[in-house]
Amino acid sequence: MTENNVFESSHVHMARQLIKHMEAQNEEEVNRLLKELTEIRHDKLFCELGRLTRELHETLKGFQVDTRIASLAENDIPDAKKRLGHVIDMTEASALRTLTAVESSMPLSQAMGERTRHFKKSWRSFRRREMTAEQFRSLSREMDKFLEHTDGDMSQLQNNLSEILIAQETQDLSGQIIKQVIALVEDLEVSLVELIRITGGAGIDADIEDERSVNAHETTKNLNGSGPVIPGVEGTDVMQSQDEVDELLSSLGF
C-alpha cells in the first residue's frame, strides 16, 4: 500500500464495480464488493490498533524503567508507613508522660492546699491570742512538719513540671517526620500524574505537572537522611543517643 494515497486505485476500481452492480441490481456481487470494501477498512483499523498497542507497550516499558513509581512502592512507601507509625508511638509516649506528671502533681497540690487551710485556722487563733501555751507548742511542731512536707512536695512538683515541659519536644520531632512524608506524597503524586497522562487520562496540564515535578524533587533531596532517628528506618552511621554523640566528638578530639 502506498503511503500517500488514502484510497488505492484497486479500491476505486472496486467502488466503480459496486456502482455498476448496484445499477444492474446484482445483489450477490454488491454484497461481495461491500464485504471486501469493509474489510479494507477493518485491515486499516487493525494496523492502526497494532501500531498504537506497540507504542503503548514501549512507553510503559520505558516508564517502568525510569520513573520513581517502582522504587516508591518498594522502599519509600513502607518507609513512610514506619515513619508515621513512629510519630504515633512518640506522641503517645509524650502524652502518657505528661499525664503521669499531672497525676503525680494533683495530689501534691491538693495536700498542700489542705495543709495550708488547716494552718490558716491555727495561725489565726494564735494571732488572736486565743491559744494556750500547750496549743502553741503543738502549732510549732506542726509548722516544722508543714515546712518539711512543703519543701519536699515543691521539689517534686518542680520536677513534674519539668517533665511536662520536655514531653512537648515530640511536637518538633513529629513535625519534622511528617514533613518528610509530605515530600514523599508529593513525589508519588507527580509519578501517578505521569502514569495517568501516559495511559491516556484526559486533561492533565503539562505545565502544572512539570512544576510539581521540580518541587517534589527539591523536597525529596531534603528527604535523604535528614531528620529524627526512626527505629528500623535509618540505617548505619546514625548516632542513637547523646552518649554516642559525646563519644564520637571526644574521639575526634573535641
Binding site: L165, I166, E169, Q171, L173, M239, Q242, V245, L248, L252
Partner: protein, 130 residues
C-alpha cells in the same frame, strides 16, 4: 556561669524554641531572644550583642550548619559560642559540625539535664579562654 548572658535561640518550630527558653529560664538565664531561621538569626547576631547561640540544624532558608559557618567566618562573631540542638544524628553531620567549629552538639529528644551539662561545659571553656 554568667546568668545575664544574652542568648539567641534559633529553630523553625516555635514549640522547641519555647521549651529551650523555659529550660534556660529554669537555669536562671532570663536574657533570651528567638529567631525562626538561620536567615533571620544572622542579622540579629550581627547587630545585637549576643553572648551565646543555640541553633537547630534543619531550617528552610538557612540551615544551622550554614549559620555556624557564617558566624565563624564573620570576624566580629567568630568567637561566639555555638550549641547545636538538633534531630540530625548522622556521623558525617556531627563531624562536619565539629570541624566547622561548633562548641557543643545535642541530639533531640534531649533532657533538661543534658542541656544544662552542655551549657556549663561550653560556657566554662569560653570564660577560660577569654
Amino acid at each position: 556561669m554568667d546568668k545575664s548572658m544574652k542568648i539567641l535561640i534559633v529553630d523553625d518550630f516555635p514549640t522547641m524554641r519555647r521549651i529551650i527558653k523555659n529550660l534556660l529560664s529554669d537555669l536562671g538565664f532570663a536574657n533570651v531572644d528567638e529567631a525562626d531561621d538561620g536567615a533571620t538569626a544572622l542579622p540579629m547576631l550581627q547587630s545585637g550583642d549576643f553572648d551565646y547561640l543555640i541553633t537547630d540544624w534543619n531550617m528552610p532558608k538557612m540551615t544551622g550548619i550554614d549559620l555556624l559557618k557564617a558566624v565563624r567566618a564573620d570576624s566580629r562573631l567568630s568567637k561566639l559560642p555555638v550549641l547545636l540542638v538538633t534531630a540530625e544524628a548522622k556521623r558525617d553531620q556531627i563531624v562536619e559540625a565539629a570541624q566547622s567549629g561548633v562548641n557543643g552538639y545535642i541530639i533531640k529528644p534531649f533532657t533538661a539535664e543534658t542541656l544544662r551539662e552542655k551549657l556549663e561545659k561550653t560556657m566554662q571553656r569560653v570564660t577560660a579562654t577569654s
